[in-house]
Amino acid sequence: MSKTLFDKVWDAHVVRKIEGGPDVLFIDRHLIHEVTSPVAFLGLRNRGIRVLYPERTFATADHNTPTIDQDKPVQDPLSANQLKALEENTKEYGIRHWGLGHYKNGIVHVIGPENGITQPGATIVCGDSHTSTHGAFGAIAFGIGTSEVEMVLSTQCIMQPKPKKMRITINGTLGKGVLPKDVALFIISKLTTSGATGYFVEYAGNVFEQMTMEGRMTVCNLSIEMGARGGMIAPDQTTFDYIKDREFSPKGADWDKAMAYWKTLKTDEDAVFDKELVFDGSEIEPMITYGTNPGMGIGITDEIPSAEQVEGGKATYEKSLGYMGFHEGEPMMGKKIDYVFVGSCTNGRIEDFRAFASLVKGKRKADDVTVWLVPGSHVVEEQIKQEGILDILTEAGFTLRQPGCSACLAMNDDKIPAGKYAVSTSNRNFEGRQGPGARTLLASPLVAAAAAVTGKVTDPRTLLK
């Protein structure tokens, strides 16, 4: 029978099918961090059980970590306690841990691919919804809860029903200044924040084929923001070139064997999806959000739609615009910005800093804007320095912080103050996400760069050479 890419990977990992229930799914790679793992380890301890395959789990500290003075003790006692718990738990159970200060430390969804942990055909989970990022490599990757973290630690399996399948095809040529983030925000604006709930998405078409791995990761990362469990893209030469020679990627004869298998990982021609959507890539513009969920996005030159044009109740819509301090029919262009945040598992990779630098080169940071540039990992930080990007940034009046999740969810000190507006390259514009009362406008690194040099919402195409 014809199968989709998703079927092939899922079916190869089903240990047992339960009649009228979920599948028992084997997990190849498990990523953990300090926030969603401590209670899972507590569970292991209470049950008196060990970790079944410690070598399949990888730990990093990212959600809570400061992005300055990482060589000094962490000031917040609760954060410090969680970091210590991760260190002790991983030591006790024999799990590899790249903690704060380690040269491989960084955001969990940045370091997985960087180290070749993320591979085509694998099942990958983490107690974090943006685990969908790893689907860029043709892996099935999704976020799980802490109970499931405990399941994976103790049995390397979880129990879930197989999701339905959706394919989103986009062909055509992307316009000037349109980045993978815009493609993702465009899709979510069409589907709404719940439009793909219950589905696993495959992205197909030349727009995705022509993207770099960094771009594909940005798209797959945001799959969860339309409710999808995850998103994936069939592995191709771009994928293989990225993986080759990384620390945990197969070597020698194992590489050849892996390649032979990976090349089979594509949707059969006559395979059937539960839902198919097709968009034209040339219609996508640089995007920006105006509301309090990622589905509330528009082209940057558009006006804020009225409640009637938006899916969801009027009360919900009014609450959202009230929180943002915006009104129906207003343009987004020209709105004053207080903060700019570039970073996160969505847009904290080298390509994002290249894009940001390409626009700010030779310009100056706007005086009344605070700009936080947070690389996704030490590896990204190092690349920024080696490629000369740091020089461009410094010359334009910007500074670079140290790696971590930072203002994306504001668990550390990187909080946007109440009432302030931030253009953020992160993934969620929920109320209070970037700090209590903070107002988030999600956008690409180019839109962020345009805001950083003008102090307002600006179409980056007008500033690009």
């Binding site: 229930g21 974090d128 979880i158 709930t197 109740g313 209590p436």
Partner: protein, 198 residues
Amino acid sequence: MAYDSFNILKSTAVPLPIENVDTDQIIPARFLKATERVGFGDNLFRDWRYNPDNTPKADFVLNDPTYRGKILVGGKNFGSGSSREHAAWAIYDYGFRCVISSFFADIFRNNCLNIGVLPVQVSADFLERIFAEIYADPNTELEVNLPEQTVTLLATGEKESFDINSYKKGNMMNGFDDIDYLLNMKSDIEEFSKTLPL
């Protein structure tokens, strides 16, 4: 972690007719710093429930003594966003055992089922009826019957059935969790791991 079994729940309900309630609202990230599963109920809906100076916001439903009960009724797409199980813990710890909505986000639904909160999905029309009845009479009781898979407005007898897979239903009715099941098939898992393509 074991939880109390769930069979038939009769209770008044708390209405929250907002759509797309995300898990950052249910429990903001700054309250995720614990290393044990205690005290999350205090911070349930923290920023909707309290002012920055920690005084209660009078207009939020959890601060309104008119509404109480073990059932939370939310708008469409309840629990979207972050995978934090802390959201389900906060709901359980506050005292809710059931959330009714016309649509749930996937991960949140799973998390609820794993810790003993029953997510009950009803039609948009029935959800409207439930909200209307609660607002008409805050003392109105609902019956959530898991064995029968039905929700009933007891005052009027209006009833709707809901879906749940038989495996999870059995777990909820017995207070079992998935880890017990998985630990019992560990030798199968170890055998299976040898057959993986890579």
